[in-house]
């Protein structure tokens, strides 16, 4: 721990490679205590409603476990299924020796000032682990909720799908209705072991003046599958993240899907980077971005290091009501025998599509909404129906705002 602290201290002022520099001192980092809640259904209705928008259901219907953190305190954490562990990371650091094999093993603590802060001033976070061979049928839900105005919430999450296991997680980050300004720093480390399957669906539901700096890295072993879905359709002042995944085993697969809507005043710099390091590994990055007046940078980077890999990147953007979209797709083939491709397109809604729908009886607004919803409805193979439904709901919610 002392090593980590030292490294973190050295990186305390280190600016991130990308994104607007956030003045950390402008946010309070003091702990805000909230009492543990045994029964989530007793939470205030307003909070529950906000959480539901981010895919987290206080009634825990069709969920196999729940982690809820409000500001700096854990509100609730438990698993409903054998073979599934859900616990606060501070508890894991105290009680479980094995956590040291994972803690800061993928993300470097001195990456930038945000990772440094997550080490020096940790406000908990979750550890979710599926034990070897266990199939977690219903998704596990995790919610990081911000209630305190002007707070910097610094969390560290570790997700482990042990050998042969299957784990689905939906995680929602949301802010209370009254909250305007805050900072969320989230370090996440994903371990997908041999022949395991992990789907991780993250829905962000921020406030207009929120700064968001996730830092995540994943590692997928032989035959493993990592599905990473990211949905952010609500205003946010500045969001910058560039999650990275390393495919380190034969036949490992990673697929990243992101759906972004940039509202006026929002700056989003979101990407995905996947290293393909073993034969037969596959990677796919698919992004759909809509600028509704905000500025979006959509990055994607695929690095093929060995022959026999296959990777594809697809980035499509629609500019609806001003703003900008900057698509930066990158491919790095480092040897003979890689198969890599990308397509990127930024445009507007085609008039002939609107007219086609109008001739079938839809008004112009209905036609536009139908096309936008279609644009955002990406098929995600392997995603459980409940999670598909959560994504559809987030999309439906957002086009009400857009029109």
């Amino acid at each position: 721990m002392r090593d980590l602290d030292e490294k973190a201290l050295q990186a305390k002022e280190k600016k991130a490679a990308l994104g607007l520099d956030v003045d950390l001192d402008a946010y309070s980092s003091e702990s805000v205590s909230h009492d543990y809640v045994d029964d989530l259904s007793t939470l205030p209705e307003a909070d529950k409603k906000r959480m539901i928008l981010a895919g987290v259901d206080a009634d825990e219907k069709d969920r196999s476990g729940t982690y809820v953190q409000e500001d700096t305190s854990v509100l609730h954490s438990h698993s409903k299924q054998d073979g599934l562990q859900v616990m606060p990371i501070k508890q894991a650091l105290k009680e479980c020796e094995w956590i040291q094999d994972y803690y800061w093993k993928l993300v470097a603590v001195d990456t930038d000032k945000y990772t440094a802060r997550a080490q020096l001033d940790l406000h908990d976070g979750y550890v979710i682990r599926a034990l070897p061979g266990s199939k977690v049928i219903y998704p596990v839900q995790a919610c990081l909720y911000l209630e305190k105005e002007g707070l910097s919430q610094n969390v560290h999450n570790i997700i482990i799908a042990e050998e042969g296991s299957e784990l689905h997680i939906i995680t929602g980050c949301a802010t209370a209705a009254h909250l305007r300004r805050g900072l969320h720093v989230g370090v996440s480390e994903f371990y997908v072991k041999k022949n395991a399957k992990l789907s991780f669906t993250m829905i962000h539901y921020w406030a207009e003046e929120m700064m968001v700096r996730p830092r995540s890295v994943g590692r997928v072993e032989e035959g493993g599958l990592f599905l990473n879905n990211y949905i952010c359709m609500k205003p946010v002042r500045s969001l910058q993240m560039y999650p990275t995944t390393h495919l380190v085993g034969k036949g490992a697969v990673a697929r990243f899907y992101s759906l972004l809507v940039g509202s006026p005043g929002s700056e989003m710099d979101v990407g995905g980077r996947i290293f393909l390091k073993e034969p037969d590994s596959r990677a796919e990055i698919i992004a759909r971005t809509i600028s509704n007046g905000g500025n979006i940078i959509a990055r994607g980077d695929l690095i093929g290091e060995v022959p026999g890999i296959k990777a594809h990147l697809e980035c499509r953007g629609l500019i609806l009501n001003g703003g900008s979209i900057h698509a930066i797709p990158e491919l790095h083939g480092k040897v003979d025998g890689v198969e890599m491709s990308h397509e990127a397109a930024v445009g507007k809604i085609a008039q002939d599509e609107i007219l086609y729908l109008m001739s079938r009886g839809l008004s112009e607004d209905e036609a536009t909404a139908t096309i936008v919803r279609g644009f955002l409805s990406v098929d995600i193979p392997g995603l459980p129906d409940q999670l598909r439904a959560e994504i559809d709901r987030a999309v439906a919610q957002s086009d009400q705002d857009m029109m």
Binding site: A350, D352, E353, L355, Y356, L357, M358, S359, R360, G361, L362, S363, E364, A367, T370, I371, R373, G374, F375, L376, S377, V378
Partner: protein, 251 residues
């Protein structure tokens, strides 16, 4: 009834329809002939209400209402439907959804699709990678769901293979209430007199006439409706002497 009176239309700066008069009464189907670029598709698009076709004179009346400047969706609501030749692909919008949009809600999509031999396409994005014949089947499926009173067909047989031409021809007949089936209660003549559906079919090849009966043929030449006659007769005339003959009447 559809009444088109002295209709003049511009596309960009070009006058493409010149003083068109046309009347389609309830139960009537007309076939529209004409060489490429004569304005046939433009006439259909203008009736449907495509905004780039600017009406500079005359008017269009449908069911007693002046629709000359009515938005497209309101025309659709009033009972006008069209089968396109090359409709656009809309990514993420499924064929099933289009059928539901056309039907405005409750519809047995599967049963309707089965009729058009199109069930396996319901979950595909509309028109994405469809062949010529698949597009036609999809268009007819949507028209079946919409069930309009005036049906506009833009070259329904183009790009359709032999295997599907009868399916398409017979479906159009049905949509226009022109299919003949034994009926215990009513004579065929009575059924014929009770027809309400109106049709306007553009054809290039005339093949569709083997499947769909029509009351009148019209020839459109350089934006002018040059003659109205028996559709078979017109078709035969054009086949033998060509559209050059139409120049005589266009002047």
């Amino acid at each position: 009834m559809l009444q088109i009176e002295d209709l003049q239309v511009q596309l960009g700066d070009k006058q493409i329809l010149k003083h068109i008069d046309l009347e389609i009464r309830p139960g009537e189907t007309h076939v529209l002939f004409g060489p490429n670029g004569s304005g046939k598709t433009s006439l259909l698009m203008t009736i449907m209400g495509y905004p780039q076709y600017r009406v500079t004179g005359g008017r269009i009346v449908f069911k007693g209402e002046d629709i000359t400047h009515m938005p497209m969706n309101e025309r659709a609501g009033l009972g006008i439907g069209i089968s396109y030749q090359r409709p656009p692909t809309i990514n993420g919008v499924k064929t099933k959804q289009m059928v539901q949009i056309c039907a405005k809600g409750e519809v047995d999509t599967e049963a309707l699709a089965a009729k058009m031999n199109f069930a396996e396409f319901l979950d595909r994005d509309i028109n994405a990678g469809f062949s010529g014949g698949e597009i036609k089947r999809s268009e007819l499926l949507q028209l079946m769901a919409q069930d309009p009173d005036l049906l506009l067909f833009d070259e329904p047989e183009s790009g359709v293979d032999l295997e599907n031409i009868s399916l398409i021809g017979n479906s159009i007949s049905q949509l226009l209430q022109r299919d003949f089936r034994l009926n215990d209660k009513k004579s065929q003549k009575e059924l014929q007199e009770e027809r309400t559906k109106m049709g306007l079919i553009i054809t290039h090849t005339g093949f569709i006439l083997d499947y769909v009966t029509a009351d009148r043929g019209q020839v459109l030449f350089d934006g002018v409706l040059t003659c109205t006659s028996n559709p078979r007769e017109i078709f035969k005339c054009i086949s033998q002497v060509g559209y050059e003959e139409c120049v005589r009447c266009a002047i």
